[in-house]
Subunit: 317 residues, 2 copies
């Protein structure tokens, strides 16, 4: 498919309904930010062979590209607005792949309420590379960041942990029943960004991040930026029914990445409101530890005995 | 250089002075848009071996990445605000290259008044790929677009045309003196986006675009989007003293790309104001033709004789 065909047939339909996209006919798009709102903007890229596999379904690649970025917005308390893409394509990429990719974008646009408003299409002698710049809105001065955790805060996490890491291991050969494999691989391929929860945490949470590098690494980011310490109870980590009992499930929950759940800290005073929110949204929210003065992360079991998380190899650099 | 080193040493300094960048410690950045302004956003990517050469100086690659995007803003009448980058780097890329690239970004940030506020750093088994998302501001409802040219409008162009195309040919072996080669290659490598002129054309111009694909192709974009025709006088095209007389200079001015001058249409009533603006900003602004009802672009010489631009091979698809 030529550049113009691809833009006209596959991309321009994704811009319909957002006037500032100017039908993708101009070099830039226009975004009006309502008074009292700040724009939140994030940019990520994924490379074939590094972040996704050549035989991953194109719809799933589209979903992952958007959802990883939607998760960044959710972690800041922002609601999705629009996105731009760069598609750097090798000559070998066939039209079917691009059609599947565009179909995946279209589906997620509907699910999450956002539009394609611009981008670039280039050719590359290298592997397929996809980049997404996502835009969201948050009430001015209210964005959640990694900074702000206070001693005494509870550490909360949404949903369940470890499923995505187990899903990746299933793809690499870990034994599982068909139903288990389907659930875990879906959790890996099509994360469910917490776009409803994130904006509702504004005013309740002190600090937030999404679990992309793994619970231990991401909580450490909060501690580093906030200048605080924390203790978490490994036995309190929420596991899915499928993950529970699988080999390595506790390690996966502690240090596996790609779950795209929200990890946040909040004071005692908001516990009741957060529990009510969990009920209202139908999202499991679990307290897994406390923030303290000092620095460093301590992981214990339910009896209070310290675990050696360094030994789990969670430092990924 | 490891990921963290690169971010801490080379990228974080580029975010200083923009509070919403959050010191590049969070997954997203915050942008406040003042009341009465719209955000203008564009995203482009360049690939080694396709858009730049492996032995291009890294400072020049940084300049080109930013300036091509700054030119998109200028064409919309917007002033620069901030940008995000994706750096997809092959393992073979050395630290010196990255340091030169960051130094080039730093220099242009000062020149054009903008900051790095976010992005992503990934590794790739393919060639170096750089992407830039640029943000600018324009008074609400005032953005210049490709749509809006009206019959009777003058067609104007800033600066001189054809220098960049000749510069590329010099790099490929076209004979030139040292001074000529320096001027033309600089015009190719380090375009000067019209960031001062663009915002001042708001209220004066009906339609605008930057000359990236070449005058004929870019004016055709305006005609297509505006539903109008135009006639331009090839002998009226502004050539630099260096380009004048070089072999192929007239073709380069008509169909060579990469000049990043502004091409715009404006009614008779604003001619005096545009000429005053040219004097005030010290930018050469030249009338090269007129918009008419109908469709299609006619190119004539000074005597009114039609030229066959199709024969020049300007259709680059």
């Amino acid at each position: 498919m030529g550049e113009f065909d691809l833009i006209d047939r596959l991309l321009k339909p994704l811009a319909r309904g957002f006037p500032g996209a100017l039908g993708l006919t101009d070099d830039a798009a226009l975004v009006d930010v309502p008074p009292g709102r700040s724009l939140v903007i994030a940019k990520d890229a994924i490379v074939e062979g590094v972040h996704f596999l050549a035989d991953d379904p194109p719809e799933a690649v589209a979903a992952k590209l958007l959802r990883v970025n939607l998760s960044d917005l959710a972690a800041m308390g922002a609601s999705p607005l629009a996105y731009l893409t760069v598609i750097a394509r090798p000559k070998s990429l066939d039209d079917d792949w691009l059609e599947g990719f565009a179909a995946g974008l279209a589906l997620d646009q509907q699910t999450y309420g956002l539009h394609l408003i611009g981008g670039d299409l280039v050719s590359t002698p290298g592997p397929l590379l996809l980049s997404c710049t996502i835009l969201g809105l948050v009430p001015e001065g209210c964005a959640l960041t990694r900074k702000g955790a206070e001693p005494g805060d509870h550490v909360w996490v949404s949903g369940t942990l470890g499923d995505a890491a187990l899903g990746l291991r299933v793809l690499k050969g870990l034994a599982a029943t068909e139903d288990e494999a389907f659930f875990l691989v879906e959790r890996y391929r099509r994360p469910q960004p917490r776009t409803a929860l994130g904006p509702r945490l504004v005013g309740l949470a002190h600090a937030a991040i999404d679990v992309s590098d793994g619970l231990v690494a991401d909580l450490t980011h909060i501690l580093d930026e906030s200048g605080t310490a924390a203790t978490i109870d490994a036995d309190a980590l929420p596991l899915s029914a499928v993950a529970h009992g699988m080999p390595g499930c506790h390690d996966a929950a502690l240090v596996g990445g790609d779950d795209y759940e929200l990890l946040f800290t909040a004071p005692d005073a908001t516990t009741a409101a957060i529990e009510a929110l969990a009920g209202e949204l139908g999202v499991k929210l679990t307290r897994i530890g406390r923030i303290a003065a000092g620095q460093g992360l301590t992981v214990t079991d339910a009896s209070g005995r310290k675990l050696d998380v360094d030994g789990l190899g969670w430092r990924h650099f």
